[in-house]
């Protein structure tokens, strides 16, 4: 099967490429790039005004299978991910049952393979059942394809255990992913600030994040483990990573798209769709996160996709589940940042594809001849309404439900195969 995508703006951050050209794909690879007006293909896509880029790699997502299928399944959520331009996903280990054994990992993997929408690059649990007391079988898990280890949102409070985790990971050159939140200090429901005070909700101070980042940086430094921080939220957190990088540490970081777009004031009126962990912070933090992407302190943007069933968000605020279903609104959210001159598509694509692929230790796609056709085609002007008919994630926790959104993926290709077409 051959596909000709004509007239798209081609953006490839690895080659610093920003040009308008036609792309011809055959047998799963990019066969030619240029003015291909005379070339005939089985499928022809008129992509004038659209953006063609390497497909995306998600460093943090929740697919909900195996036993939380009321929230989402591997099939439903990997399809939703494909509709947001992703071909590779790093599922978080806080699955049920926990991703701390090879059998759980292989069951999730086989479901993804059967669905065929995305490759999985699982993050396994750093400690058994994420309890923070005993090490998981890291070496075996890495042999089953896990690309890193994390304790997800569960802080390991015992420093002896944490030291052993890092030492053991260092023994085998394994990467540790960290969601930096001090357990005791993050025992609230939203960012500690004027909005939390006004609403009478328990606050999570910024120091919950900075204390944890500092602590993990010291362990990384002490053991030589290469670490990655998931979902930074604060200006002070960005500053700590910037400092560590300046000192030559091989540390990387990502930010969830929601933290680039929303702040704690969105919670006013007890809007549980904005109940997140780690929490949305203030405007100055949001701006600092964007600056972090611009200056390279923050390497990647992740979805932090967390689908939920409707009853999970239908309760008094503190009793509601945390997290947003992101995939359906990821591209419109980025377009919003581009329209507000806060982010460029080139920077967004670099953070979603080239950099995240490097962090996940997979070969980043390049828009070059003879490379595998892992591509995302985005129409930045496509106007659509996010509702039950158009959403693909099973999650009903869509913060922008029933709104008219701008920009949408038109086509996602994984090794030349169409995994999503609008």
């Amino acid at each position: 099967m051959s596909i000709l995508i004509s007239g798209a703006r081609i953006l490839d951050p690895s080659l610093e490429l920003d040009t308008v050209a036609d792309v011809y794909i055959r047998g799963g690879v990019i066969e030619s790039i240029g003015d291909l007006a005379k070339v005939h293909a089985d499928t022809q896509v008129d992509a004038k005004g659209m953006i063609l880029s390497p497909s995306f790699v998600d460093l943090n997502t929740c697919l909900r299978d195996l036993s939380q299928i009321q929230k989402g399944t591997v099939a439903s959520e990997t399809y939703a991910a494909a509709s947001a331009g992703f071909t590779d996903l790093c599922p978080s280990p806080d699955t049920q049952p926990c991703s701390d054994t090879g059998s759980v990992i292989s069951m999730i993997n086989s479901k993804a393979e059967a669905a065929g929408f995305c490759n999985l690059l699982p993050i396994a649990a750093l400690t058994k059942n994420l309890k923070g007391t005993a090490l998981s079988n890291m070496e075996s898990l890495s042999r089953s394809g896990c690309i890193g280890f994390s304790n997800a949102g569960y802080d390991i409070t015992d420093n002896t255990v944490l030291l052993r985790c890092y030492e053991y990971a260092a023994t085998f050159g394994l990467k540790v992913f960290v969601q930096a939140q001090d357990k005791q200090l993050s025992n609230g429901h939203m960012h500690a600030g004027p909005t939390a005070t006004r609403m009478g909700l328990d606050g999570i101070p910024v120091i919950a994040e900075t204390l944890s980042i500092s602590r993990h940086l010291l362990f990384m430094q002490h053991t030589g483990v290469q670490g990655h921080f998931n979902q930074l939220t604060s200006s002070a957190g960005v500053a700590l990573i910037r400092q560590a990088k300046a000192q030559g540490m091989k540390v990387t970081a990502d930010v969830g798209i929601a933290h680039l777009c929303f702040t704690d004031t969105a919670i006013q009126g007890y809007r549980s769709q904005y109940h997140m962990q780690p929490p949305l912070r203030e405007e100055s933090d949001r701006i600092a996160l964007l600056v972090g992407i611009k200056d390279g302190t923050i390497d990647a943007i992740c979805s932090a996709h967390q689908p939920h069933e409707s009853s999970a968000k239908c309760a008094p605020f503190a009793a509601t589940a945390t997290g947003m279903a992101i995939y359906d609104m990821l591209i419109p959210l980025i377009q919003g940042l581009v329209d507000a001159n806060e982010l460029t598509w080139m920077a967004a694509i670099k953070a979603l594809s080239f950099n995240s692929a490097n962090i996940a230790d997979i070969k980043a796609t390049r828009l070059a001849i003879s490379k595998a056709a892992n591509l995302t085609l985005i129409d930045p002007n496509h106007s659509w309404i996010l509702d039950v008919d158009s959403q693909l994630s099973q999650g009903t926790n869509q913060a922008l439900a029933y709104q008219t959104l701008k920009a949408r993926v038109q086509l996602t290709l994984k090794d030349g195969q169409v995994t999503y077409a609008v």
Partner: protein
Amino acid sequence: MSNLANLQLTQSGELRHFLTPEGLDRLMLERILDTADSFVVVGNQEVKKVPLLRGRTVVNLFFENSTRTRSTFELAAKRLSADVLTLDIKTSATSKGESLLDTLQNLRAMHSDMFVVRHSDSGAAHFIAEQVTPDVAIINAGDGRHAHPTQAMLDMLTIRRHKGRFEPLSVAIVGDIAHSRVARDQIHALKTLGCDDIRLVGPNTLMPQGIQSMGVSTHNNMDTGIAGADVIIMLRLQTERMASAFLPSAGEYFRLYGLTVQRLAQAKPDAIVMHPGPINRGIEIESAVADGPQSMILNQVGYGIALRMAVMSMAMSGQMQQRQSQANQPSSLIGEQK
């Protein structure tokens, strides 16, 4: 925050839920106080009943322990001639949301007209009014540490009856601001009613972050905090604050922030002292002050019934209006379509 006003008012601007004074304008707060004033008289009559809520069903839903608030609400509903059902519902921490939803929908199916809700989660009353039973009038009897609007408004009634206008007043609120559901509503109400000098007094551990953004000043020193004040509102200090490391001891707290006769002399000579009760003698207030001539503590209890009668009758009438206009609207639309 106009959405808070929208949620609490009918299309024609009448009160239909009372969740917090935040978002309500001065005229509405004054109407509540005026109505309450008229009910103070009812309490002094031989027959303490008016037929305003006759035939209406009021359900007191207390998901959290409360004796004082619950009994004044019950009494207020009875004096308005309503049928009153009081339920003490203990929530299990794990299934809070679900049990709340189910309980409410069941009660709604029994054609209840008003829910008086006390719940340990901030925003619980808001959640019920917005998402669960918008056609039942909701009175917030305290949600988490967010709001306790009838307590705040009975404090306003106390201040107005004893001090008149709010504009020239200096009001000090002393103690555990961080955990107080009343303090926030007092601040909103005082601001809306024209009071400009609001001082919060307490140690940093009991002072919520960013509270200054509500237009108040904060003071760590009690003497400067209450200097020249017209009104001193003492907040109750829960003893568990010591166990959870907010404070070292009751003794040190009393020495630093307890209201004594000697300290009260820093305030204006005619200053009034208020406390939502129940009081901890010797922890936040000295008995000589609590029982002294400047204390309004018992007056507050009496005004509490009148204020709650006012809010209940106003919200019930607003809710009935809303129901009526909604009942008229859709049917006429269907008629037109045909």
